[in-house]
Subunit: 192 residues, 2 copies
Amino acid sequence: MSFHVALVHFPIIDKHGQAVCTSVTNLDIHDISRAGTTYAADGVWLVHPYEAQQRFIRRVLRHWKEGWGSQYNPSRRESLAATELVDDLGEVSRRIEAAEGRPPIFVGTHAAPLANSVSYRSLRARIDAEPEVPFCIVFGTGWGLHPEAMEEMDLMLDPIYGPCPWNHLSVRAAIGIILDRLRGKDHPLIES
Amino acid sequence: MSFHVALVHFPIIDKHGQAVCTSVTNLDIHDISRAGTTYAADGVWLVHPYEAQQRFIRRVLRHWKEGWGSQYNPSRRESLAATELVDDLGEVSRRIEAAEGRPPIFVGTHAAPLANSVSYRSLRARIDAEPEVPFCIVFGTGWGLHPEAMEEMDLMLDPIYGPCPWNHLSVRAAIGIILDRLRGKDHPLIES
């Protein structure tokens, strides 16, 4: 089995629901990589189509994976080991298929309720039950994945709620919560 | 019942285990407030002892709670409604006691195993069972709470693990995960 996470910067919606491309946030690179490594992701895919932003991402990755930062803070090198920059989700699909013989199941995330979204419990069980299938959990930056990006998804996950209807989590927190729900070990909330 | 979260910048350890005071990270202010609001925290306490950093924090809070930002992005105003700046955890304790007649149970978090740490399941049950008791979950920046800060805690929570021993999560992700484990509604991993 392989398990992947992807952070998408295009096509994303802004607060008016318009399609935009978001700038990369330096901390997002680290936070998704640290969460991905904690939850044993085989691939952490940073998805950005624009060359200027790709140069910035490459420079950050080089600094921590090979440059001065890799000695200064080896924990960052470890966390970024599986992190790669790609143009789009099509490239993620092709690279996983090339490595494993089949494309991943793309699982999108969204803060609002959607028809036919799947529960964490059922997806967790499916990931455990289908070890031959690569899964890729897809997170949107900005105000979330554009409907066109959601159409590319094979599944959409349920939104996350606490005790109230307000759930404007940061993508950094949402990535942690969702990976924990899907992959937390000895998860204290699961009957063992 | 009241439920609180606190983000501590002193005393914190650096990567050598030395006591330091960390600078505040702008995104941390937003991320802990957004997670706190999602999980219905009654108070989100930003703990920093230094005047120069306090000025920065006040400026950020003012911009989003009252200034231009409050109109530009009302969601930020909502998320920061319960967020306050304090000098230290003693001030948190006094203010909660003044409001509720008793000081909070401070619950510390740490990435490494500790003797006598409590499970998420047991703390979640206790929070639900003791509605008259305020609880405050305490998060450290940097490389985590200094032992002196941990001595102030009434309880320490278990560390978080995925499928492997590596668990260097960002504080932004850890806050989300821990609040979800303690307060996630219709949590898909809890038998209903």
